[in-house]
Amino acid sequence: MKMLRFGLLVLVVALFTAGCARNVKPVAPAASTAPAPAAATTQAAPPPTAPQVSPLDDPNSPLANRTVYFDFDKSDIKPEFLDTLTAHAKYLVANPTQKIRIEGYTDERGTVEYNIALGDRRAQAVRRFMLFQGVSADQITTVSYGESLPADPGHDETAWAKNRRAIIVYIR
């Protein structure tokens, strides 16, 4: 029952983001045109085959944002991260040999192994979103570190908010 409800939620989210996807479209061209001026100003650069900077290396690409944050004890993806995840999903669909690892993390306000399970749930939420967007299952692995390897080692809400996260790591 819980699974079903979650499935429906993801489906709704997927439809919603599919609708938005058109607005996001300009992203890819913008990224691919970015290197052009750089190549033009660099005289020493070797001839015509201007190096294609991967959007993965472009700090202005939406793909540069690889972290999504979660509410305390929660593993549902908040609306403000849907654009980011959609951009990653589109890139992965367009580059089916590209593999990613989704890492799930928690803050420290729980037991160690329960936090591993909660971090896993967060990683799985991102993974399921990707699968609904058409990313192939064999492009994705997941791992949960729970409360280990905090982004911020502090012990207050500012730190905890930074630590409740999932990170997309491109395997290159």
Partner: protein, 438 residues
């Protein structure tokens, strides 16, 4: 006769039980943060040394510290003693009665060949009677262990409960937030020695085998969690599980033949499994699609307690070790997790969360009453001493990960912290008794 038998027993026990690893690691500093007024006053007079040079350990000091650390005794400071006898004939009991001391310990360390002979006697200050008198043969390297052993015998004689001063603890040390080491140390934090180290990847959830020879733990080397089994004497290491998803929360069955752990039965669905350590065959115990994790065995090996959020929030459940329908055990509050069964099987220690703060609590299984023992707010990973008297757990103090201990009645609190800055300690687990009971 009794004395002779005990002397032989003590000698054998001391020989068997030292980690053959050289060089101590960082040392935890122990501090009693709150004591109890009902602690029985005891005096441990500095032992006389008959030999050349100095003995490797101040035996009387270790015994006094051990007994005080138990919360059942309060050792008199040496500077407050009116006399320092080292022979029974020199004791003036009036000098101890005026100080309201109940029991007096005196002794001698004698150099014998390459080792030592430690003699000690315990007297009741009011009846003047000798309660104990033993001689223990030991070596320089084992002298501190021998002092703990003497503490065990005194504690047992005076309280009726077995002492746990010769036991060890394991924990995870993190330096600079990224260098992980699995450490084994004496229960007072001394003789800390690394068993396994990882430069950047976490080590979690150590668990002792019932014979104290092996530790199972989770290591994330190669960015994948895996459950390993390691012999702490030989260093031999065996990979037990590196399956897709979670590989976590290992814990030995009381007979040492099986390991319960958490594995993902499908992506995102952690369940409890039991592995037969001889055949490596897995048996799935739980089947819900909620989180099921943090298994722990009842002392008789018949049941497993575990954490599950199948009811909406994490709570403790109990299930037969053969599988079946779990029964919910905790109902008090919205977050109860990481249960540990007391050695007598009568209570559960667990982490209880209230308003986002974590505390170590104990639940009496017969009455269901939950009592919170700690007040740190980030207290987790509780583990019982094998005699059930104390619980060690991880806490945060001045932004540093430390270990703390609390007596099961909540009265005595102690802290073991790393002296160095930037070193955090986590995930303590108290090892078993290493010898048969007396």
């Amino acid at each position: 006769m009794t004395m002779l038998r005990n002397s032989v027993f003590l000698t054998i026990a001391v020989v068997l039980l030292l980690l053959p690893i050289a060089g101590p690691h960082a040392t935890l500093e122990i501090e009693i943060t709150s004591g109890v007024n009902t602690a029985s006053p005891i005096a441990v007079v500095p032992f006389r040394y008959d030999g050349v040079g100095q003995p490797t350990t101040d035996v009387a000091d270790v015994i006094g510290s051990d007994l005080t650390r138990s919360g059942r005794f309060k050792a008199l400071g040496v500077k407050d003693m009116l006399e320092k006898p080292t022979e029974a004939s020199a004791v003036n009991f009036n000098n101890w009665q005026v100080l309201k001391i109940n029991d007096l310990v005196i002794g001698r360390v004698k150099q014998v060949g390459g080792g030592y002979s430690v003699e000690y006697q315990v007297f009741n200050v009011y009846t003047h009677q000798q309660i104990m008198g033993y001689s223990v043969a030991t070596s320089a390297a084992r002298l501190r262990y021998t002092a703990h052993f003497i503490s065990d015998t005194i504690y047992q004689k005076l309280t009726g409960q077995r002492g746990a001063f010769t036991t060890r603890i394991a924990y995870v040390e993190i330096s600079g937030h990224e260098h992980y080491a699995l450490i084994v140390a004496d229960s007072d934090g001394y003789n800390a020695q690394p068993v396994f180290e990882s430069a950047t990847q976490p080590i979690l959830s150590p668990a002792w085998s019932p014979d104290g020879h092996q530790i199972a733990y989770v290591s994330f080397e190669n960015t994948m969690p895996a459950v390993y089994l390691q012999d702490i004497y030989s260093g031999k290491r065996e990979l037990l599980s590196r399956r897709e998803g979670i590989n976590g929360a290992p814990v030995f069955s009381p007979d040492g033949k099986s390991l319960a752990m958490t594995l993902s039965s499908s992506p995102g669905n952690p369940d409890i499994y039991v592995m037969d350590l001889a055949t490596k065959q897995l048996r799935r115990i739980t089947t819900s699609d909620a989180i099921d994790t943090e298994p722990t065995w009842s002392p008789d090996g018949q049941s497993l307690y575990f954490t599950s959020d199948r009811g909406g929030t994490p709570q403790i459940y109990k299930v037969s070790a053969k599988g079946g329908e779990p029964q919910r055990v905790t109902f008090d509050g919205s977050y109860n997790a990481d249960a540990q069964v007391s050695p007598d099987g009568r209570s559960l220690a667990m982490v209880h969360r209230d308003s986002g703060n974590l505390y170590v609590s104990v639940m009496d299984l017969a009455s269901g009453t939950l009592t919170t023992l700690t007040n740190g707010g980030l207290d987790k990973s509780p583990s019982f001493a094998p005699n059930g008297s104390m619980i060690i757990y991880a806490a945060t103090y001045h932004d540093q990960g430390v270990l703390e201990e609390v007596s099961v009645d909540g009265q005595v609190h102690e802290r073991l912290s790393e002296r160095q800055n930037g070193v955090d300690v986590h995930a303590p687990v108290w090892g078993p008794f290493l010898t048969s009971g007396q």
